[in-house]
């Protein structure tokens, strides 16, 4: 299983933004590897959430752990059958452990988008 988590500049904590997070953490639970990649949608003029969601789909992600997520990205995940869980305030790595231990809840509320204003 592949888990994705948006990361902030320091690459440790979960970024509050999904689409505009500077990095993404990809954690592979089968072989225990983790990689941090640049989020290509971070600087998008518009539709950052959609672009970031497509990025996750293209990387065969099964689970997203995030603080929040917009409606458009959520629609992409619904169609791609990617599950979304709400991140805890701990580090990204701790969040992976919490998810595997069944301690995270599913994210069910999606915002209408900030469109560059936040």
């Amino acid at each position: 299983m592949r888990i994705a988590i948006p990361l902030d500049e320091m690459k440790e904590k979960v970024c509050v933004s999904f689409g505009r997070a500077p990095y993404m953490l990809f954690a592979d639970t089968e072989n225990g590897t983790q990689e941090v990649v640049i989020n290509p949608a971070a600087e998008a003029h518009g539709g950052a959430g959609i672009k970031a969601a497509q990025f996750l789909v293209d990387h065969q992600v099964n689970v997203l752990i995030t603080v929040r997520c917009g409606e458009n990205a959520a629609e992409v995940f619904r169609e791609a059958e990617i599950e979304i869980y709400k991140a805890s305030p701990l580090t990204a790595e701790e969040n992976v452990k919490q998810y595997l231990a069944g301690e995270l809840e599913k994210l069910t509320k999606f915002h209408a988008g900030f469109h560059g204003i936040q």
Binding site: A41, G46, G47, Q54, V57, N72, V76, E79, A80
Partner: protein, 285 residues
Amino acid sequence: MRIAVLSGKGGTGKTFVSVNLASVIKDSIYLDCDVEEPNGRLFFQPEITKEIAAVSKIPVFDGEACVGCKKCVDFCAFHALIYIKEKPKVFTEVCHSCGGCMLLCPAAAISEEDKQIGVVEAGRGINGVPVITGILNVGESSGIPVIQKVLEEGDRIAAGKEEAVQIADCPPGSACSVMESAMEADYCILVTEPTAYGLHNLKMVYELVTVLGRKCGIVINKDEAPYEPLEAFCREKQLEVLARIPFSKEVAKLTADGRIASRELPEMEKEFTDLYHKVRGCVMS
């Protein structure tokens, strides 16, 4: 003749100036191009006699013809397209109808269809002024097709009438929708207020009309005391200050009640009549 009324900053008084100006000109046509929040109709209270649908083009995918190359997805600058489970899909509210995906598709799997994004209402309001209101549906990203319909309808009503003066009440800011509204205007009135924020956004909208090569002049609304940076900017750019509308609680109250000050207060009638004559003089020269 078409006069566009612009301001970088919202709430400066575009609609106030547009409505009052349209009210003192004999053969005026009021065009509400501020399609996200058209409010000139609150003043003119037109009786709607015509509705025109405004549509934009959105891509439609032929799933069988699609070869899954994702060129369209990578091309879309607005990220309106996605590709999931070997199927392309469009987020219609995000699409800007550029048609690029259709041109680019190597399999000719994309065609376009119309999607209604708003409506244009036309009718006559107070004093028989033709009022054309563009209304963009909530959630749509671009109001330009609605604005184009408003301007078309304005031209249609003005056709053959030499004295007709179209007043285009533009959206705030200096983005594409403002450009579309002011692009073919004979004159641009830039409404500002004597504040730092007002001046900041005036500079942006001034730059826009300069790029468009339009004649322009300034109206300072809610003028209490000269704001020196604004005065200096007007001097430096040799911008004519066409009118200084003093801050007045009476005018603010009338306007808040949806009334047209230039119809009720002789000094406001004079203010806007003088403004019109100055603009007319600039257009004719």
